[in-house]
């Protein structure tokens, strides 16, 4: 017999209006189904729309198109059977642990004794016994997130939404909380029927989820769906676990199909309108050095180098992709491979590095080339920042334009391709006196 799924999203689309009347598409063609007894992971980089989807499910915002159904009925506003755990805990600092937990029940106007019984039970379950009268600020991060869990569980939700619940915690604490959660889940001691977990941590997704939806960016969409059939508790060192992790890396580094010509595969926008990432030259140089050195010698497995450098995908991918944009490296099949100039850069001294970097910057970053050309052409060899901002705003939002130009300034300064004076907001070719 086919049950109604707990949750069903079909062809969900979400776009935000931009000030100029156009719209910013953050989610498209999103299909998702959550059945009883499942943990579904939404895995992706920041900006891939996974948190946006979670907020649609939580009823905190509405889809522009498509439908989100909970138990067969469309979600309008926060639904009674769906509770959420937040990345930053979102506890009310002026309420004690008990009051924080009881708040959701107060909102339901439950009777006082019932609130007390249920709150204390939830506090008990999640291992907060003895902390009832503490204020959040007296607690460690791990304990605070336990309050976050207790607060969500106390309303006896059918679906628990978790928005990167462990990412604000240190590695050890996160592991403890994950294990505790999985224990409660597999023993069926929590009053929940299904879980949706948003994460950017690949291992966390493989560790916890029954199904993983891998998200891609620009606009946010599902790249692929993986089933994880490994029995719980899972072992990170298990070869089939590693294989799954590797597979996801491959998925996430695969070139998007059918990208428009002239478009950078990884970054939105075209030509000088490409939105540049905020990556410092130290990180770029550091990653090239790490890949060039032993044991990688120019080609590194991404999961391997991520764990060697203790970087999460949100830290590692932007750096790797920037290297790719600058044609210092190639990403393919979950590997990063330095190209000739990348290797040369890694093995050079500072002055030679700057020369190589300048050549690549002016060849492969159209905005940098454009700034340089304008400065060269003018007799004064100087130009206002607002001139470039105006041009960029034809392609992107004000904020993105600001950030993109800041990235260009950062790289241009390192390459000594041009100078920038923040006080007067002027670009020039002069070196500071």
């Amino acid at each position: 017999m086919e049950q109604t799924p707990l949750l069903q999203c079909s062809e969900v689309r979400k776009a935000f209006p931009k000030p100029d009347g156009a719209e910013l598409l953050v989610l498209e063609g999103m299909n998702l189904e959550l059945r009883e007894g499942q943990i579904v992971g939404l895995l992706g980089r920041s900006g891939s729309g996974k948190s946006t989807l979670l907020r649609l499910i939580a009823g905190l915002s509405e889809p522009s198109a498509g439908s989100v159904n909970y138990l067969g009925k469309p979600i309008v506003g926060p639904a009674p059977g769906i509770a959420m755990v937040f990345q930053s805990f979102a506890l009310f600092p002026w309420l004690t642990v008990f009051e924080n937990v009881a708040l959701g029940l107060e909102a339901q106007r439950m009777s006082r004794p019932e609130i007390r019984t249920r709150s204390l039970a939830a506090i008990d379950l999640i291992g907060l016994d003895g902390f009832e009268s503490a204020y959040p600020r007296e607690l460690s991060g791990g304990m605070r997130q336990r309050v976050g869990f207790a607060r969500a569980l106390v309303v006896h939700p059918n679906i628990l939404l978790m928005d990167e619940p462990f990412s604000a915690l240190d590695v050890l604490t996160a592991e403890t909380l994950r294990t505790d959660f999985l224990d409660l889940w597999s023993e069926g001691r929590m009053p929940i029927k299904g879980v949706i977990l948003v994460t950017h941590n690949i291992e966390e997704a493989v560790l916890m989820c029954d199904r993983i939806l891998v998200f891609g960016s620009n606009p946010g969409r599902i790249l692929s769906e993986l089933k994880v059939t490994l029995p719980q508790p899972r072992n990170r060192l298990d070869p089939s676990f590693r294989e799954l992790v590797e597979r996801i890396y491959v998925e996430m580094t695969a070139r998007p199909k059918g990208a428009a010509p002239g478009r950078h595969e990884r970054f939105p926008g075209l030509g000088i309108g490409t939105v540049l990432p905020q990556v410092s030259t130290n990180l770029l140089a550091g990653l090239m050095e790490a890949v060039a050195a032993a044991p990688f010698n120019g080609t590194a497995d991404l999961p391997k180098i991520a764990s060697d450098l203790q970087m999460e995908i949100d830290d590692l991918f932007p750096v790797a992709e920037t290297l790719q944009m600058l044609r210092f490296a190639e990403l393919e099949g979950g590997d990063i491979k330095l190209m000739e100039d990348g290797l040369a850069f890694a093995h050079s001294a500072l002055d030679e590095r700057k020369r190589i970097f300048m050549r690549h910057l002016l060849t492969y970053v159209p905005l940098a080339a454009h700034i340089r050309r304008v400065l060269d052409e003018r007799a004064s060899h100087s130009a206002r920042k607002s001139r470039f901002i105006d041009e960029l705003e034809d392609f992107m939002s004000e904020e993105e334009a600001e950030r993109t130009l800041r990235a260009a300034v950062r790289w241009g300064r390192y390459a000594e391709a041009f100078a920038y004076d923040d006080e007067n907001a002027m670009f020039s070719l002069e070196n500071p006196t």
């Binding site: 939580a58 509405e62 959420m84 009310f92 008990f98 009051e99």
Partner: protein, 572 residues
């Protein structure tokens, strides 16, 4: 079994803290009853029982003044919670309400009283109540705008995740307001309340003895006592008044603000490490007392109970249909336009048409004089207080001592120094245009000191070590380390001081001692004279000009300076 008990206060009888709390609470109730008794007395009674300079009457006068302050504080709180909430919640209303608040802030506080006293007296004709209203309203105007702004800012900066948490646990709007928005805004609100209270003391003195044209009212209170002492040239009475002010301000600080500041500490979302937790014996008393605990729990229960009682709509907020939205927008815009036209018409017909050109030129000239005075005084005060503030700020123990003293000085009313100023000017035949000026900055210079101390105490220790390590000393140290580090704080203080000085000009540019009067040329003196003469047209003209000057100076000078300092020198 030692289980958790959320309602502990119900157990046991009373503690010694209860006795203390009981005395304080009952005392407060008696005090409120006693002081409000005179409110419905007819005005004639005021004239029959004239004020007395007998120091024995001072406690009663002080109690009445305190009552006015409390009433104004309460009204300000009500205004803040409604006006600021409306401005923050409704995009449409906010567009108008926020600029209005900004303008109201720059209208001189004593200007309000000159204009409104007749209106309030007419509300309760022949009764003291009307005059009380006017005085309370004047104090209200010295606090409400600040507080509303602070709460508005808080409402706009609530972390998104907290709002989302409230929504996802389906708190009703009413519950969200009391459980999230008010607590979140509380720390900034209390801080602002305390700061503007200092200003309040300054103006309560001016607002109790009101004389607009033929309407002369002297409400029993410390302010009227001071006015009478000045009129009678009674130095002894001035001394008593100073002592009373000291005690009252001290009590306010210890019994009201210190507990509030300590209590509100728990509402802070961000806990900066190393910040000293404020302490208050009065708060300890209240916390330990079961009676007070019971009261707070009762309040909490009331909030919850009303949350249950208030009908809650489970349906989501329906997005306004575009058509309806557009017509509402249209309605709103046409309302604003109508108000604008009406206002303009009044300004043109009543004010401008009846103002001869030479009068307008004269008022502008006077405003320039006052402006010059304010700027010179701020510069002088900065030269004196910035180095001292930096010195004090780097020494936490000195700061602990200086802060409360400065806070008291900020609340010290300028008229208490009239005897010295007037006698000095008359005895040595000094130029009042110059020597009355210091009175203007008497209370406001302390804001510069406060802020610089705060800034200097936040200079990171490592930065100071680095400076010492590289032997950055002397003038170089001031230029490259201390001054840039305190600049954003200094600018904040200077803005407050400048605004306050404009306000004080109305009191400070004319000083009387008995029947001797010395006067400085300036807009403040112009307004004060017009008020005494009851010449409404000139009052409005003077006040309008002053507001205009303050707004323009803020926009073209202070605000850009503030943003510059914030952007360039704020350490994050």
């Amino acid at each position: 079994m030692n289980r958790f008990e959320p309602y502990v206060f119900l157990r046991g009888l009373a503690s010694r803290w209860d006795v203390l709390a009981f005395i304080v609470v009952i005392g407060l109730i008696v005090f409120l009853g006693e002081t409000s008794r005179g409110l419905f007395a007819p005005l004639a009674q005021l004239q029959q029982t004239p004020l007395s300079l007998d120091p024995a009457r001072l406690p009663e006068y002080a109690a009445r003044t305190t009552f006015r302050m409390l009433a104004a504080l309460f009204l300000s709180l009500v205004f803040t919670l409604t006006y600021a909430t409306w401005a923050a919640k409704s995009e449409r209303a906010g567009k108008l309400l926020v600029p209005i608040l900004d303008i109201l802030q720059s209208v001189p506080i004593l200007g309000f009283i000159s204009i409104t006293v007749v209106f309030f007296m007419s509300l309760a004709p022949g009764r003291v109540l009307g005059a009380e209203f006017a005085a309370i309203f004047a104090i209200f105007t010295s606090q409400a705008w600040n507080m509303a702004f602070s709460f508005y800012q808080s409402l706009r900066t609530i972390p998104v995740e907290l709002t989302e948490a409230a929504a996802s646990f389906r708190l009703s709007p009413w519950m969200t307001f009391w459980q999230l928005e008010v607590p979140f805004g509380m720390p900034a609100l209390i801080w602002n309340m305390m700061m503007s209270m200092s200003g309040g003391w300054f103006f309560v003195v001016a607002s109790e003895a009101i004389s607009v044209g033929h309407t002369t009212v002297a409400l029993p209170g410390v302010g009227s006592y001071i006015a009478l002492a000045i009129a009678n040239k009674d130095l002894g009475a001035i001394g008593w008044a100073i002592a009373t002010m000291l005690i009252v301000i001290l009590l306010y600080d210890q019994l009201l603000f210190r507990p509030l500041v300590a209590w509100v500490d728990r509402f802070r979302v961000e806990q900066e490490p190393g910040v000293r937790v404020p302490q208050s014996w009065a708060l300890t008393m209240m916390r330990r007392s079961r009676l007070v605990q019971a009261a707070t729990v009762a309040f909490h229960a009331a909030v919850l109970w009303t949350s249950r009682a208030v009908k809650r709509t489970d349906a989501p907020l329906a997005e306004e249909a575009p058509a309806k939205r557009r017509s509402l927008d249209l309605l709103w815009v046409s309302l604003i336009v109508a108000a604008l036209v009406l206002g303009l018409w009044h300004i043109v017909v009543v004010l401008i048409r009846q103002t001869p050109l030479h009068e307008a030129a004269q008022v502008c000239g006077l405003a320039f004089l006052t402006m010059l005075r304010v700027f010179i005084l701020i510069a002088l005060a900065s030269v004196i207080w910035v180095p001292i503030g930096v010195w004090v700020g780097m020494r936490p123990r000195a700061a602990q001592f200086v802060q409360p003293v400065a806070q008291f000085m900020a609340a010290f009313p300028a008229n208490l120094l009239f005897p010295i100023a007037v006698s000095g000017i008359v005895a040595w035949k000094l130029n009042p245009d110059i020597f009355l000026s210091p009175l203007m900055i008497l209370g406001t210079q302390w804001y510069i000191l406060f802020n610089v101390i705060a800034g200097a105490s936040m200079i990171p220790a490592e930065m100071r070590y680095a400076a010492a390590n590289f032997r950055v000393t002397g003038w170089l140290w001031w230029r490259k380390v201390a001054l840039p580090a305190v600049l954003p704080f200094y600018v904040t203080g200077a803005i407050t001081a400048s605004g306050g000085s404009w306000n004080a000009a109305i009191v400070a540019e004319i000083a009387t001692w008995g029947d001797t009067q010395v006067e400085a040329k300036g807009l403040g003196a112009y307004i004060a004279e017009a008020t005494t003469a009851g010449d409404f047209h000139r009052i409005v003209l003077g006040i309008g000009t002053m507001s205009l000057f303050v707004v323009i100076i803020n926009r073209v000078f202070w605000r850009p300076l503030y943003y510059y300092a914030e952007r360039k020198f704020r350490m994050t």
